[in-house]
């Protein structure tokens, strides 16, 4: 809490001089603390599972411990058996090994989450930047900007879940359609954030300076304004990834997501849902725990990155931005 007045304009000029994406870079690369390390360690484990998860079951079999099962392999004589030395997490009602399925499932969940999030960033952010840049200028431009944002409003007022189910039902159940549905669901989030930042950034003195120097709209947006308008979008990415993982699981749970027998966490919970009522807890509990952990790790990452952003915002408001960040 400093109360000293800071000459903001001078600072903004100084900041814009030596690196336009300084804020973003500073946000992402800061000295890691213990919790930060834990969080990103968790993210690393998820990524690792995405790569090797489906091979762990078969690998255990090769290792000769009589406990390895493929994620889609059926042990028909031992359906719905509790956790044991052979099936660490038990088997579901069709005799699939819950342990190797839990390890295999993050692949599809994460691939869908990353693809959908990336697509909604790639489409949503430029739309938002455009809407923010052209809004409030010439009539036609303002109208376009308003149209984009009002469309986003309406998109957000739709019941997202059923909207996604409809898309999947109408266009056929496939991973690509699930990704597209989730992209549409998340577009408005990024468009809104990018627009809001662009609205403030475009009024900064360095924007005027660049304009006076004779830079065209294109160069102004892409070299000067855009890099300074994406911080909050980037900061939102982990949260959206977590949300998409949950959403995909929900879609699969009603049978409108990933098709069985592919191991997917929501689909696995669905398979075990009826067993929960009769007391066989393992087919649903384990994938649910995995799902919760995955999303929780991304929630922690989101919190961490939000804290960094606040720190950067505060630092940018100070005269000696560089040193105050170092001091932490």
């Amino acid at each position: 809490m400093t109360t000293t007045d800071t000459p903001e304009t001078v600072d903004s000029f100084a900041a814009s001089g030596d690196g336009r994406i300084h804020g973003l870079r500073r946000m992402l690369f800061r000295k890691p603390g213990l919790t930060t390390a834990a969080v990103y360690g968790g993210v690393g484990i998820i990524l690792l599972l995405t790569v090797i998860g489906p091979s762990i079951g078969p690998w255990l079999a090769d290792a000769g411990c009589a406990c390895g099962w493929g994620s889609e392999q059926i042990d028909s004589g031992h359906a719905l058996e509790g956790p044991s030395g052979t099936h660490f997490f038990g088997t579901d009602r069709s005799g699939q090994d819950v342990f190797s399925r839990v390890l295999a499932a993050p692949r599809i969940n994460l691939v869908i989450a990353l693809a959908a999030t990336a697509l909604s960033v790639v489409i949503g952010v430029p739309l938002g930047l455009l809407a923010g840049y052209i809004g409030g200028r010439a009539l036609a431009a303002t109208a376009t900007s308003e149209l984009i944002m009002r469309f986003m409003d309406v998109l957000q007022s739709f019941p997202l879940f059923v909207f996604a189910v409809v898309l999947v039902a109408v266009r056929g159940q496939s991973t690509e359609i699930v990704i597209i549905a989730l992209t549409i669901v998340n577009l408005p989030v990024f468009a809104r954030l990018a627009r809001a930042e662009m609205l403030t950034v475009r009024e900064q003195p360095y924007a005027d300076a660049a304009r006076i120097l004779g830079h065209g709209n294109f160069r102004l947006i892409f070299r000067h304004l855009a890099p300074n308008s994406v911080a909050s979008s980037v900061a939102t990415v982990p949260m959206v990834i977590g949300f998409v993982i949950l959403f995909t699981a929900s879609l699969s749970f009603v049978g409108a997501g990933v098709k069985p027998p592919t191991a997917e966490l929501g689909g696995m919970i669905r398979v075990g849902a009826n067993n929960m009522v009769t007391g066989e807890w393992w087919p649903s509990i384990f994938p649910g725990v995995a799902l919760g952990l995955m999303v929780l790790i991304f929630a922690f990452a989101a919190q961490d990155i939000a804290a960094r952003m606040r720190a950067v915002k505060r630092a940018e408001g100070l005269m000696s931005a560089e040193t105050s960040v170092e001091a932490g």
Binding site: P159, L160, V166, V170, V254, G255, A256, L291, V295, A299
Partner: protein, 360 residues
């Protein structure tokens, strides 16, 4: 008589002031184009169905005559623009089409399901508010000194973690866990399935289960309802109370360090008094998040509805899609979207009521 008129006037005067505010007028005016875009999207949605919609709706075993007559009924032979106007005309007259799955008019199906779902999500929201708001106030404005200070700090750590956890759990999974714990293991709640035990339903008048139970004096029905709704409500409260709690804490904490709170503390005002001042100014973002959740839940409680076999509104939407009953799905989307827009409208009016600056 005049007394009643006076009373009414006093009650309505804030709302009259609202109506004269430019912000609210603009906001109300804005509602119409929104409605227009929503109908366009729901209209296009039906056109996205691949192949002949008539084939999809009637299924494989239909005769040419049936198909032609349905095509005629739906006006599919007309140009697209006039199809849209027929659609709007139907909507204005309360005609939402016919459900091929239930065999009823969609409007009839909605009358059947909406009240019970509204009752369900409203109960969950009210319970969530009663728990989360006081917790959030306490955790967001911890005492600085005294023996409760430590307690407050611990509380704020616990609830912050709970906020993260609630956002990370799938509501359908939590519902299953609760069933496993309280039905399959402890056996202290009735078997999940429906709003009532079989045969305990009250006579249907309003469609609101509690109200029906009460006006027919059916104590058994009310008891059965409460037993059946404990777990579904608890699920929604746990998962969707999280964001409300988080927002309350952040909003309170932001104001905690403001000059007027410091000043009030310096003047020696009681913590309770300061918290109340703080809370009033912390309200706008809290109201926004409550609105977002309430708007979402009408169609978004669907997974919880499915697990507890509640024949609710959201479940009707998903079921109609899965049964290829796209006319019903279309109307479901429309009603759910209008619900969200209405809730957001009320949120904006509430913001204007709280903060005179917005009313300009």
């Amino acid at each position: 008589m005049t007394l009643i008129a006076k009373g009414l006037n006093a009650l309505l005067s804030p709302f009259k002031a609202m109506l004269s505010s430019p912000f609210i007028r603009r906001r109300l005016l804005f509602f119409l184009p929104q409605l227009f875009i929503v109908t366009i999207i729901t209209f296009i949605l039906l056109k996205l169905v691949p192949g002949d919609i008539v084939d999809v709706l009637l299924g494989g075993l239909s005769t040419e005559v049936q198909r032609n007559s349905l095509r005629e009924d739906l006006g599919l032979n007309d140009p697209v623009i006039s199809q849209y106007f027929t659609y709007i005309d139907g909507l204005v007259h309360g005609d939402l089409g016919k459900s091929f799955f239930t065999g009823q008019s969609v409007a009839h199906d909605f009358r059947d399901r909406l009240p019970a779902t509204l009752e369900f999500i409203t109960t969950a929201l009210v319970v969530a508010l009663l728990i989360m708001i006081p917790l959030g106030i306490r955790a967001g404005s911890p005492k600085q000194t005294g023996w409760t200070a430590k307690l407050d700090r611990a509380l704020s750590k616990v609830v912050t973690f709970y906020g993260l956890l609630a956002g990370s759990l799938a509501d359908f999974w939590l519902a299953l866990i609760l069933i496993f714990l309280f039905y399959a293991t402890a056996d202290i709640v009735p078997e999940p399935g429906g709003y009532f035990a079989l045969g305990a339903e009250p006579e249907k008048t309003t469609g609101f289960n509690v109200i029906d139970s009460i006006i027919h004096g059916d104590g058994g029905a009310l008891k059965s309802y409460v037993g059946h709704m404990v777990l579904p409500v608890a699920t929604l409260v746990f998962v969707y109370g999280g964001p409300i709690l988080k927002m309350t804490i952040t909003s309170m904490a932001e104001i905690q360090s403001s000059a007027y709170v410091e000043n009030a503390r310096g003047m020696g005002l009681k913590t309770g008094t300061i918290r109340w001042m703080q809370f009033r100014n912390a309200l706008p973002p809290i109201i926004t998040i409550i609105g977002v959740i309430y708007g979402f839940l009408l169609g978004g409680a669907v997974l919880v509805e499915r697990i507890f076999s509640l024949n609710g509104f959201g479940n009707y939407g998903v079921e109609s899609v899965l049964q290829n009953d796209f006319l019903a799905a279309q109307s479901f989307m429309l009603v759910a979207a209008i619900w969200v827009m209405l809730v957001y409208l009320i949120v904006d009016i509430a913001h204007a009521a709280l903060d005179p600056r917005i009313r300009l």
